[in-house]
Amino acid sequence: MTISVEEAYETAGMILFHNFDIRAVTLGVNLKDLAHPDHLRLAEACRRRLADLGGRLVREAGEVSEALGLPIVNKRLSITPAAWLIEPCPEERAPLYLAQALDQAASEAGVDFIGGFGALVHKAATAADRRLMESLPQALGQTSRLCGFLNLASTAAGMNLDAIARLGHILKDMAAAAPLGIACAKFVAFANAPEDNPFMAGAFHGAGEGDCALNVGISGPGVVRAVVAQHPDCDLTTLSDIIRRTVFKITRAGEMVGRELARRLGVAFGVVDISLAPTTMVGDSVGRILEAMGLERVGAPGTTAALALLIDAVKRGGAMASGHVGGLSGTFIPVSEDLAMIEAVECGALTLEKLEAMTAVCSVGLDMFAVPGDTPPHALAALIADELAIGMVGNKTTGVRVIPAPGLKAGQAVDFGGLLGRAPVMALNPFSGEKFIARGGRLPAPVGALRN
């Protein structure tokens, strides 16, 4: 059956008017074979491999974009969790040498970000894990394209409260390590971190992956908002169907880009991450989708239900469209990167507590939000523990990307500019969970995890 003029126009209009794009193509690269006791040799070998593969990724992505007529916005690399690579290195500063080499490789290749400077410590940390954790403030503060992560909880293993308590202090140092606390914008604390996530800052190339895998993150909040706005009065079952059909279309385009790019690179195609990812461009907002559904503002009663409907419809459409849906595949609700979310915080519609409730139904967690600069380490740790508990018990991914904005108080804002946007500083509950965090130890895995 031939394509009608309406269908061809719909595709063109998604890109022209509603910011549809392939948000990220992320090449996951195994570096385990490069682990070596000589930290300088390790760093140089990693730099060489990543600069080569990253350069090819950038070139081929440009050609695929041209050939298919679809914009590919970000080209990225993700690597084997860096803590594994420094295991054999006796040098205390090995993580910092590696961080500089990774950042250098990203710069040489022309990729936007490189992810994977992190560790999986959900049960306990090795000596190398601890060295890497302690290096995070300097490593992320002194580099521009490097992203870090820690996995601190899992449904199967429980939650590592000792590591979370320590992270509270590390985050304070990280906030002080670069202007505006921007190093914190390049770090995510996870529960149930996915091994094939193409989105930053939490991308890494996990233990179950092969030598290379090409993962794709599509995006189309603007496209979804437009179709929701075109149906202002239909019931919610019908609305779900409309969203599902739209997401099917954009996921198919993402899958095609991923497969073609993987073929040209000669690597395996990994997954399509169907997450809706907003930007600060007008209209490219997840919050606006929720408002188009009928909410006066994001954060109003009904917000969590609206988000649940949205993400379910996204999953239905995405799963139908792609054989390999993976990564986070939820809905990003970052504060600073979404105009509707920024406005909602500023007008008092959206509080931190409501944001936390929203993350119980979408897989991505508390993302890109600022708290007062004088927030104590134990309060940061408690905030993270709360959010990761939602992921651990709910058997899903949750993450926290928090910026304790240096010198700022609730009601002020930190403006990063560009894609990271502007984060209004959100008030924290003033009552303390310090003694709870100080107990330390391991929070047991939920009994629901015993499924075998």
């Binding site: 031939t2 394509i3 309406e6 041209e66 298919l68 899958e255």
Partner: protein, 92 residues
């Protein structure tokens, strides 16, 4: 040679010479037009041409650039999408 087809989507205000100028450029670059459709939608003129560009002498990027220049001269937006993408999005 493997056949490669694209949809040329022209969006804007209806005026004389749109089909003539777009098709002339496609002809000059060695592309073969296989289908043409046009319609006014929400007050906007939309024309699509399905063209076989396998024999295109300047490559897809050169063709796209030429079409965008023709569009700009007439105050129109021109998009070029690979047929496979549009089909994947609209057909199961």
């Amino acid at each position: 040679m493997e056949r490669e087809r694209v949809f040329v989507v022209v969006i804007g205000t209806d005026q004389k010479g749109i089909i003539a100028r777009v098709s002339t450029l496609l002809f000059e670059h060695g592309a073969n037009i296989e289908d043409v459709q046009q319609k006014v939608m929400d007050g906007t003129f939309v024309m699509t041409m399905l063209a076989d560009v396998s024999g295109c002498k300047v490559g897809l990027s050169g063709l796209r650039q030429g079409l965008e220049e023709v569009g700009a001269a007439m105050g129109l937006t021109v998009m070029v999408h690979n047929e496979s993408v549009v089909k994947a999005m609209h057909r199961v």
